[in-house]
Amino acid sequence: MGKYSAFSVFRHALTGNRNWQRAWRDPEPKSAYDVVIVGAGGHGLATAYYLAKEHGIRNVAVIEKGWLGGGNTGRNTTIVRSNYMMPGNTRFYERSLRLWENLSHELNYNVMFSQRGQYGLCHSPAQMDAARRRGNIMRANGIDAQLLSREQVQARLPYIDYSQNARFPIHGSLYQGRAGTARHDAVAWGYARAADGQGVDIIQQCEVLGYLWENGNIVGVETTKGDIKAKKVALAVAGHTGHLAEKANLRLPIETHCLQAFVSEPLKPLVDTVISFGGAHFYISQSDKGGLVMGGDLDGYNSYAQRGGLPIVEHSLASAKALIPGVSRLRLLRHWAGVMDMSMDGSPFITKTPVDGLYLNGGWCYGGFKATPASGWCYAWTIAKDEPHEDNAEFTLDRFERGYQIDEKGAGPQPNAH
């Protein structure tokens, strides 16, 4: 596999770009591996990459029922941030942001990580107090955070509604300057190429039908391409975790919900940052192609349909207009939905399971994309050493039993409220 560089772009241009090698192989599965990872999204591919690179475990397969990066990796709104304040989350997401900062270099693949900053807007004195508390906790953990006044926000984001009639007046904002966006597909492709370069087999169009069992332990997977033995089977299928856990007789504190996202027609640069509205659940950024990328609330009921309803379209676009009145005549170019593992406390799982041989990475709720590098890094650690790294030590299944939920929003066991 050739290394990508400015020189290689120039050299291939001279030969009409006819001689680029494919970025990863397309192998048939072997009969046995040390580790089989189910799900070739960002998390699964990152896990394979770090297993090979950090732990020297290269006899690894990533199997995928569809195509690589075709699930939530290709359906999210690409926001990366680490403004978390609950113990268990804070350090994990900061590890992720630090890995993001060097990711293009590490993978020799441009993931277009752009640290354009993220504003969490506040619309009442109470929200300002909550933002101040969150910012202080972040800073105590060595994470950048700034509390901005209304005037500072207005100087920086002149296009949002500061009028007397604004339904949600702007009181200020918590700002994280190191937050930003990344090119979601490139993250999957970059990790796939780098993992393949380490000897990992990526097997697409191969669906897991069930598990191979021996004395109550899982020792492999049954797939549409035959049985594959594995010392360890690792799930990274967020959105469909319930479905694959059920085949292993596991009942989980997860519901699957549908979340929609929207892209407007392209326009000239307007939103050069990421803005989270505090008046309703809504966030907006602008892609390099010019489309405004927006997301809002869950549809609110259990769904595996990857297809949302119009009430949330209306709700999200009403939020967009309340925040930035100038977008009112824009048309939507696309909208789509992904299915989320919504956990009972809004936080994920990276853990061993009660079934020997089976490992779980899931329950990502809204937050999976930003977590991709640290999720892979910590999951690889957990699989390789059979114990969690301290940064994912709290993401266990038994935290509910012990009363140690990580409920960032304080919403209680209501998956559709996180």
């Binding site: 469909h240 319930g242 479905h243 059920e246 009942r251 989980l252 504190p253 997860i254 519901e255 699957t256 609110g300 009921y301 259990n302 769904s303 595996y304 349909a305 297809r307 309803g309 119009l310 009430p311 009972m344 509910f400 039993e401 066991p413 209501q414 998956p415 559709n416």
Partner: protein
Amino acid sequence: MIRINCPVCGLRDETEFTYGGDASVTRPPIDDTQLSSWMDFVFMRDNPRGEHREFWHHVQGCRQWLVLERNTANHAIGSCTLAAGRGT
């Protein structure tokens, strides 16, 4: 838009309702001191891909709690009955 056939009000848009989650979980008896049965009730869900029985509250209509059968894979609606009297 999901349309729900409320047994009191007739066919109404989903926006009149709020979702109340899985209706197959049952609350343990109040004197049950087993941690695991309360754990199951509060946190654990079957989360099926397919037929799902679930609570909806007709909050902007008759204000009754309903039990709706709905398919989570394609949003097809089945029967809808009053939750009252089902004893959970």
